[in-house]
Amino acid sequence: MSEDSGYNFAYLDEQTKRMIRRALLKAVAVPGYQVPFASREMPLPYGWGTGGIQVTAAVLGPDDTLKVIDQGADDTTNAVSIRRFFAKTAGVATTTRTEEASVIQTRHRIPETPLSEKQILVYQVPIPEPLRWLEPREAETRALHALGDYGVMQVELYEDIAIHGKIKRAYDYPVEVAGRYLTSPSPIPKFDNPKLSDCPALQLFGAGREKRIYAIPPYTPVRSLDFEDHPFAVDHPGHPCAICGDTESFLDEIVTDDAGGRIFVCSDTDHCRARQEGLAHDDAA
């Protein structure tokens, strides 16, 4: 128990953490497979990342440095309160710098800075089942996963092309992990999908309300579903970031005034900051 907070380290009791770690080990052993776990009540409402928080609590040690992002930003209410929560209950160091963090909890983005083998990326997942909208029956989705019977997902993509001329899904774009399980990457933009594959960091996914944990171990191949003649592709809006000028990062559109003025800036605030500092440095040199 940490002395000043009155909570057990990282809030959850040791028995619960062990239970979550067992689920995590199973998830790592079967990449992309959704492992059920006994999700606990957390002092935050569902939708605030209770699944991700429980996973973070189970993997966090006293020497870790935690970074929390929400849509790429470290300074949103959600990111700030989760960071404070662990600073208080675990007394761990926190950071906004991607390269300094050993554990990164995220909602809706993968950092632009390439991750390393020393890092764990924890995703907050609202709906872990990629087949949920196509097949509402839980018993049947389990059977489809067990049999690797994923034609119905391909039909969904066919429909996009037939109706919109291309695969329209921009977020939560379904992937096949390690050539086996169809998996939801959580609502990250499909722009981030290529970063899922062959990533040196351990990627863990926690869905609190749905009580599921899954994982993509380091250096696991992850393939975004597509058709041979409509291959998976990321699209970039084409503008550079209005602040740092990056032409390759994922951009958020920001409305700047009532007259409909808008700019595009990096969604990854740490990445944008690092580039600005680099540019200032180059200018000084």
Partner: protein, 260 residues
């Protein structure tokens, strides 16, 4: 079980009970390649139940069911692993439900409905899937311009033809049909029957077709089985059963139609 060497499907003593004494009580028959077997009988006699047993939509409580696949291998359908059973069901078999809504994905376009079997068996080329869908829509007399419409925008007859295309796209060898012309207007029925007759002949399909319309049976079926109370009470060549029925029940069945 023993299966005649040239049969495609053999059922022996198939049984199923809904738990209320109703169902199928011991049905045996052999089906030959290219054979069209009609199942007739009054409402509640067990026709749909038998067809569902044959198609793997219901698991029998007893009996055996063997199928000879395209490679000539003899398969015990009741002991087949689930993955193999599903694969077979979407490649070599077809099941046409009486109500097309049970056999179609209503939220998916006509093209997606027809293309599903191709995608479920590894088809990953959009252009080729779409071309096959288009070919099959044309073949069942649905205007290709409707390929991106949903089945809910189709008439009953079109829905039934779409369901047939969705089954035939994989080149099945055995097609099970439950009252495929039921619930349709007479003129629509006649057109569908014509289409079915030519498809079955052109593709050399083996067919088990359930109907209570003896006119449909006469037009499509080579052989007939007459069911009553979950059992087959008479079987034979269609003309023979309809023109010269042995059993009193069949005589009633035939005469009630003649009287109509």
């Amino acid at each position: 079980m023993t299966m005649p060497p040239d049969a495609i499907l053999s059922a022996r003593d198939l049984r199923f009970d809904y738990g209320n004494g109703q169902g199928v009580r011991g049905v045996s028959f052999d089906l030959w390649p290219g054979d069209v077997l009609g199942i007739v009988g009054e409402s509640g006699s067990g026709k749909t139940t038998l067809l569902k047993l044959l198609g793997g939509l219901l698991a029998p409580s007893g009996g055996s069911l063997s199928y000879r696949d395209a490679s000539g291998e003899l398969l015990d359908l009741l002991a087949l692993p689930e993955a193999r059973r599903r694969h077979l069901a979407r490649t070599e078999l077809g099941f046409v439900h009486q109500n097309p809504r049970d056999g179609l994905r209503l939220a998916v376009t006509a093209g997606g409905n027809v293309g599903e079997r191709l995608m479920a068996t590894g088809g990953r080329h959009y252009g080729r899937i779409r071309q096959s869908a288009l070919d099959w829509l044309t073949r069942v007399e649905i205007d290709g311009a409707r390929i991106d419409d949903r089945p809910t925008q189709f008439s009953g007859g079109m829905q039934q033809r779409l369901q047939i295309a969705r089954n035939l796209v994989s080149g099945p060898r055995l097609v099970l049909m439950d009252e495929p012309t039921g619930g349709l207007d007479v003129s629509v029925q006649a057109r569908l029957l014509d289409l079915l007759r030519s498809l079955v002949a052109d593709l050399g399909l083996s067919v088990v077709i359930v109907t209570h319309d003896l006119g449909v049976a006469r037009l499509l079926a080579d052989r007939l089985m007459v069911m009553q109370g979950g059992r087959v009470i008479e079987e034979g060549l269609t003309d023979q059963v309809l023109d010269d029925p042995r059993e009193p029940y069949t005589q009633l069945l035939v005469s009630s139609v003649l009287a109509a």
